[in-house]
């Protein structure tokens, strides 16, 4: 539903842009465009999870480099895992946020197909995760808060990635991040799939854009594991609980960041302002906390997240 409308509007806009303003069709087209936009806005009030998956994966959705340009100054990119490799699908570096030095790390997706091929569609290998860990450790050393941007279809499932220890790299990140003695903020901006997303997602505060999705794996993968049929991904979306609205009550995320009508790509500026507010508030609230406090709070949060769903069967007794 949303997909059709969204594409139709894109096409109309493209045609309009190519037209000379005096052409008689222009008026009609403008009228249709306005009508379809209104329809899109109305439809956006009731998005299905599958619609959100579509919006979260939209090729024109703002990427980490856009956020970096819009929100930070004096950005200095850092590359390489110092073990012989560089992975462009993880983007990271140091920058100032309203005067405060922070470390930025996130998945990097491209703005078009060519760029995406170079970036492996934002699917990191172990070298990417090791680079992320290196940057986080450095942030800890220099007491810089870490801001994470999550947007990935998952960790790259390739031969080389396995050979160089994809599991190991992710596991080590999870372990180290649980103890990191600086404030860590994670923002899920697009799709956050599987361990590949979580590997840079253990944070004190986890925020999620309204139409982003965060899930155990892609709906296609989920459908193929559970029903051996990847084409049933729409059904999968409906039961996976992958939207921000589903995840907040579960305690997996802390805050939902509103998006402009029609999705983030329809008005990126508004999204930048929302995220700016979110980062500002986080830095302010953690300013006077020690590193140890941040680490302890994070560890406690992870430990207690699912406590509500574990029952102790008193009848079975204690067995210590």
């Amino acid at each position: 539903m949303i997909e059709e409308l969204d594409r139709k509007i894109d096409e109309m806009e493209a045609t309009l842009a190519g037209m000379q303003s005096a052409q008689p069709e222009e008026k009609i087209l403008r009228f249709q465009l306005k009508r379809d936009r209104d329809e899109l806005l109305a439809a956006c009030r009731e998005l299905t999870p599958a619609d959100k998956v579509y919006l979260a994966r939209h090729i024109r959705r703002p990427r980490i480099d856009d956020y970096t340009k819009a929100l930070f100054t004096e950005f200095f990119e850092q590359k390489g895992d110092r073990l012989g490799k560089e992975d462009p699908s993880i983007f990271g570096g140091i920058a100032l946020f309203e005067g405060t030095p922070v470390t930025i790390i996130g998945h990097r997706k491209g703005h078009d197909l060519n760029e995406n091929i170079k970036l492996q569609f934002g699917m990191p290998g172990p070298e990417g995760y090791r680079k992320a860990l290196r940057l986080m450790k450095q942030a800890e050393k220099f007491h810089r808060p870490v801001i994470l941007f999550i947007d990935t279809p998952g960790a790259y499932p390739g031969l080389e990635a396995e050979e160089f220890g994809q599991s190991q790299a992710i596991a080590e990140n999870l372990a180290a991040m649980s103890m990191l003695q600086v404030p860590v903020l994670a923002i899920i901006t697009g799709e956050g799939n599987s361990g590949g997303a979580l590997a840079i997602g253990v944070a004190n505060r986890v925020c999620m854009l309204e139409n982003a999705v965060y899930s155990i794996l892609s709906p296609e993968g989920f459908a193929s594991i559970l029903w051996h049929d990847a084409s049933k991904s729409k059904e999968a979306c409906n039961i996976m609980k992958l939207t921000a609205q589903d995840l907040k009550p579960l305690g997996v995320i802390d805050e939902i960041l509103p998006e402009p009508p029609g999705g983030a790509h329809r008005n990126p500026q508004a999204v930048y302002e929302t995220i700016r507010g979110c980062v500002r508030e986080f830095l302010k609230s953690t300013k006077n906390k020690s590193g140890k406090e941040m680490a302890r709070a994070r560890a406690k949060k992870i430990r207690r997240m699912d406590a509500a769903w574990i029952r102790i069967d008193k009848a079975a007794g204690e067995d210590k």
């Binding site: 499932p157 190991q168 992710i170 590997a199 579960l250």
Partner: protein
Amino acid sequence: MSSDILEKRKTKFTRMRMLRDRDAAQGKPKVTGQEADPRIAHLEDLFVICPECGESFLKEEVRKNYYTCPHCKHLYTMPVEKRLRSIADDGSIRVFASNLEAVNPLHFPGYEEKIAQQREKSGQAEAIYSAVCKIDGRDVAVVIMNSKFLMGSMGILVGEYVTRACEYAGMHKIPLVIFTASGGARMQEGMLSLMQMAKTSAAIEKFKRAGGLYIVVYTHPTTGGVSASFAGLGDITLAEPGALVGFAGPRVIEQTIGEKLPEGFQKAEYLEEHGFVDQVVERERLREVLSRILKLHA
């Protein structure tokens, strides 16, 4: 049973299985239930055919041999209690954290029934089992995963067992041994399953930083969210021969790269060669090896 009769029965069993396989290959309908040949049904209780080398053996013989094929060393899945008994001192086992229950957090359709079914089938409460025992007189906390229970997938309870075992081992200052086996995170618990990766890794890290010794034994198969969390963090990492260990499964990788994977890819021996495993250890040597490692850390 005298060995003479035994040999005869074994030959008979092998022949009947061959005939049946031939029938199946020719597309004849498979005979089951009441109509099945009672003679072969009886023998099937007694014998097992190795899926690797095709030789048949008495089940008892395979069991006594640490669930390993006496001919080609193919490893059968070892029931969790049997595995624990194979490494623990006699009479030293105390089961641990057996009083936990999980609910269906996402209200996933049919999940409770599925769990009940799996419990019935396997006789186990979850895809994981934890205990405290002694190995050559030294106390140790042991966690064993069961790949036969919903693929050994990690849900909230599996994560909680691992976390509690870490906390227990940390509190009592004893080493922790985990036998891993898992297809990954549990689909039916969604993001809360994924969060177990963070929870278990955090617990292991805390335990290790406090000076605890953590030993991982990879068993077949260890993949997905388990391989990329607590299973990847051992101070000492051992593996059973032939165990498949990796983040993505071979099928997914083949689909991604569009070519066949090399022989032995992601197997224990391959991991040993590529630097991810200290040693590949056969089942019959495992107790001895664990005992030595514990002694070296005493």
